[in-house]
């Protein structure tokens, strides 16, 4: 009998290994397969039992709640049935994440059975310009948050001549509320590798780095194992699949610096320096790592490339709306019942996600605010939840989609405290190179602390707006430039939280 138990960080953090030990006790002859998570975080550990009618899922299972009835595919209060019919999954359009939870992340054959490396084979057979044209035609934009057209970036690197070029994957997923990169790397690591090899062929690079945050120890293990296996199987290294293309890939670890998610700071860090942000221009596509032309793309951007090459740009561009083509990967997080990964074509509203997918707050209280796009994203009240998920619509509303994280807060949240935290976080993580960010954040946090004590609120808010304006317009990068967004949104949408305690 076969049972599938996920082995991603979420399932493990909720006792998946204890479930495995208990399974072995109950049924020593059991064939236990490990797969990644399907991204339905609130149901983890979600086990699936093979039966005549396909896989039958149960979740969230703990070592204590595990029973023999489950192993026979029988009825149980944790029975979920065929998980692919679950509305949370059935309503999604999984393109980048089509394999997660279905395959063993460490098994190269599993990956290839589900279309893995088809995109690479096509890339090897195409001239580099044709690959870049495919990426342009797909409409893919950078999924790290800045949403720059990927094909245009690649075109620049392709056209810039140099003795050496680099592909750098930004896997420094530091935004709170985001875990899509982690899921991809833990549950389908070969997909990221394939995307990077295709990028290398397209622009003429032969060295790549994955800059991974230290906080993701399991992703590190999975990536290293997948790189070794890919190299042995001829998908990496010299003469890839017998062609003239050569590409080496290495994982490098960050060391707890949020700013290193900013691409130029990341490059400095890879070079072994303090992660100080560089002025642009020059663009990294022209002078990037060690001064050479460099593609810097987010994990999801690169992991979407194999789909585009294998199925065609048109297939991808068929999804989405306006200039936001394809799918966006939303991560529902924070105070929400059904937190997890939701990959959908652009255009859905926040409300649909929070209600239909998220099913309201985890605490059972009223939802008060959601922060979209990480710690530099705006806090949005219920009146803004009909915004469609689309890069331009969010920008027009003074918000940003960023890397797609949505953090829900119930009505116990104190928005003045959140605003203060935004400034504190900026002060802590600022690289220190430019004054507006380095000093503005410290002063901003001080002013907010005084406001929260009820001291000179009017004057404080005026000063705070002054600081915000300086940070927004004068900072070198998005850290200082966007910190005013959560701060201002908290003040504008939740003014009652900035009144003296007696009035609250």
């Amino acid at each position: 009998m076969k049972v599938y138990v996920p082995n991603d960080s979420t399932a493990l953090s909720l006792g998946a290994e204890d479930v495995v030990s208990r399974l072995r006790e109950i049924e020593p002859d059991l064939e236990i397969h490990r797969n990644g998570s399907r991204g339905l975080a609130w149901l983890e550990p979600l086990i699936e039992v093979e039966s005549h009618n396909g896989r039958i899922a149960y979740g969230p299972v703990t070592a204590e709640s595990l029973s023999k009835a489950m192993l026979q595919g029988k009825s149980h209060e944790l029975l979920l049935g065929d998980i692919e019919q679950h509305p949370y999954l059935a309503k999604q359009q999984r393109l980048t994440f089509e394999r997660i939870g279905k395959i063993d992340p460490e098994n190269l054959a599993d990956y290839q059975k589900m279309g893995g490396f088809d995109g690479l084979r096509r890339a090897i057979a195409s001239p580099p310009q044709a690959i870049v044209d495919q990426v342009k035609a797909s409409g893919l934009r950078g999924r790290g948050g800045a949403a720059f057209p990927t094909g245009r970036k690649w075109q620049t690197v392709l056209e810039t001549s140099s003795d050496k070029k680099y592909i750098v994957c930004n896997a420094d997923e530091g935004d709170s509320g985001t875990f899509a990169d982690r899921l991809l790397m833990e549950c389908d690591p070969f997909c990221l590798i394939e995307g990077m090899v295709i990028a290398a062929i397209a622009v003429g690079a032969n060295q790549g780095y994955i800059y991974l945050r230290r906080e993701y120890p399991l992703a590190l293990e999975r990536l290293q194992a997948a790189i070794d296996k890919s190299r042995k199987a001829g998908f990496l290294g010299k003469h890839i699949l017998g062609s003239d293309y050569c590409f080496e890939l290495e994982v490098r670890l960050g060391a707890d610096a949020y700013i290193c998610g900013e691409e130029t700071s990341l490059l400095e860090s890879l070079e072994g320096k303090r992660g100080l942000v560089r002025s642009k221009p020059p663009l990294p596509a022209i002078e990037g790592l060690f001064g050479r032309p460099t593609v810097v793309n987010n994990v999801l951007t690169l992991a979407t490339i194999p789909f585009i090459l294998a199925r065609g740009a048109e297939e991808y561009a068929n999804y989405g709306t306006g200039d936001s083509r394809g799918t966006i990967t939303i991560q529902l997080a924070g105070n929400i019942v059904r937190g997890g990964l939701v990959e959908l074509a652009f255009g859905t509203t926040l409300r649909e996600l929070l209600v239909e997918f998220g099913n309201g707050s985890f605490s059972g209280r009223e939802l008060k605010a959601v922060q979209v796009g990480g710690p530099l994203g705006a806090y949005l009240p219920a009146s803004k939840w009909d915004l469609p998920l689309d890069y331009e619509a969010f920008t027009a509303a003074g918000a940003m989609l960023g890397h797609g994280g949505i953090v829900a807060f119930d009505d116990t949240v104190d928005m003045a405290q959140q605003a203060e935290f935004s400034m504190e976080f900026c002060a802590l993580e600022s690289c220190g190179k430019c004054t507006p960010c380095r000093i503005g954040s410290v002063r901003g946090a001080e002013v907010l602390a005084r406001i929260r004590q009820g001291q000179q609120i009017e004057k404080g808010l005026e000063l705070l707006e002054d600081i915000c304006e300086t940070m927004e317009k004068g900072s070198l990068c998005a850290m200082g430039g966007l910190t005013p967004f959560p701060v201002r949104s908290a003040i504008n949408y939740f003014p009652e939280d900035f009144q003296p305690v007696e009035v609250k």
Binding site: F179, R274, G339
Partner: protein
């Protein structure tokens, strides 16, 4: 904890195994911290000679990254996520509870000397907070009561 001779050989092998890499400094520092538990002052001169970098530049890099520590660590490292998604699920209450329980603030060591308490900003398990990382093991949905269970086996009486 390694003695001095052993420590020097660990430092030298970390340097030798990584010096040929492009941008070798971070991999060297990571390896030293993984093997020794912290970045001892003794290693600065050795790295400086090997990489032809000034000691000041190396110190500057070490101090930039929150991960690197300069003093020997206690037996355990407990990191509590302070980021927004965990805040929304009670991380602030959890950190107050942990500080009271361990009699330590962030960047301090528990009163019994066994646990280093550190803040961390996002562990990527944001749908199942509050989260902690205990000696590299991620644990989700940590209520104060669950925290007490987890920590019970670690503290010395």
């Amino acid at each position: 904890m390694a003695d001095t001779t052993n420590m020097n050989s660990l430092i030298n092998s970390a340097i030798e195994n990584h010096r040929e890499l492009e941008g070798p400094l971070l991999p060297i520092l990571h390896k030293i911290q993984a093997d020794i538990g912290f970045i001892p002052t003794e290693c600065i001169k050795l790295i400086s000679n090997a990489l032809r970098m000034s000691a000041a530049d190396i110190e500057g890099v070490i101090s930039f990254y929150h991960h690197f520590r300069r003093t020997p660590p206690p037996a355990h490292k407990l990191e509590i996520c302070r980021a927004e998604a965990c805040q929304a699920l009670g991380a602030r209450e959890l950190e107050r509870h942990a500080m009271k329980h361990l009699k330590a603030k962030y960047h301090e060591i528990s009163a019994d000397g066994s646990v280093a308490l550190e803040p961390v900003y996002c562990l990527g398990n944001c749908a199942c907070g509050p989260n902690i990382l205990l000696d590299q093991k991620l644990i989700g949905r940590v209520s104060p009561a669950r925290f007490d269970e987890i920590i019970a086996g670690l503290l010395r009486n």
